[in-house]
Amino acid sequence: MTEAESAAWRVPPRWALLVAVLSIVTAEVGGASMARFKVELTRWARDAMLARPAVHGLVGVRDVDERILDEALVKFDAGLRLFHMHAEGMGLVIIATTMVAATVVRAGAVRRTIIALLTTGGAGYPVGYLVWSILIPSYGLERAKTIAEWLVWIPFGSATILALWWLAGLIALRLIRR
């Protein structure tokens, strides 16, 4: 590798870039859909919750039930917003971090593992907010959160955190060895 090449960024694998762009596109579509179909989404969630009164602890008293429904609908909306925000951010995080890994990490197997963890973790984690939101009407606030946590947030979030610290450690090592 020449000096000029070692001081230049290397492009990450195309599949990683595609996943990152897809994450940003779904975030944009999600944001637009939230705005365009807000009434329809709220109506769907409300009807689904009313169809499962036991799950949400509805007692048939309007004053009490409306407060419970309002809280669940706020969380339902928050989940969609957090998906929108995280998917946009993580798309950019994937592009930046996989570019660093492609450039800085020399060992092929380690580089591929870090890029795979960063890409799958970064793209998968925001989907947890979507899962949480969609499950709230059927499973209730807490159960939906637990399912999203164990199915999505913990595995994908851990993959990203592990890969980021691994990458930071390798960069630090390279700096020390110079």
Binding site: A7, W9, L164, L167, A168
Partner: protein
Amino acid sequence: MVMSGTVRRPPLAVVLVAIVMVALGETAGAAMSRLRPEIQRYAAARVAANAAAHGFSGSAEYDDEVRDRAIFTAEAGLSFFHLHAEGVGLVLFFASTLVAATVPWRRARAALYLVLTLGGLFPLGYLVYGAAVLEIGRDAGIEMAERWFLTPLGVSAIVGLLGLLLVAARRRA
């Protein structure tokens, strides 16, 4: 005109700060989600240990309100840290790459890397904010974090970005 070719990268130390900041942001987000009760308990214990700094009066109702506000503010600090660390880490990554790719003068590049990297540490001010609120009281903690960390580091980031803008404009002219 379409340009192609390699894109220069910034020094590894700058890249390391950007990656560490994003990693800290991710880790803080996970901690906030998984360890919320523990963080709240710790915050309540620190407020109780620094009762004088929080102006406790001995009236349970008033003290509870003061404690709740301090804990809420400390949690907000952690939440701001999570949000800013992810964003500012990316800003540092992309801005320093633009410096490497577009600034032809070595000294100007070094100066921009320095101020941008200092600016990249801005989110740490929110960690100080959260901790200081618990240790020296809400208003004093916020004032201290803003004066000694958030303002200087934030100004540094703005100076770096304006410097990059000026250099880019000068090259274009």
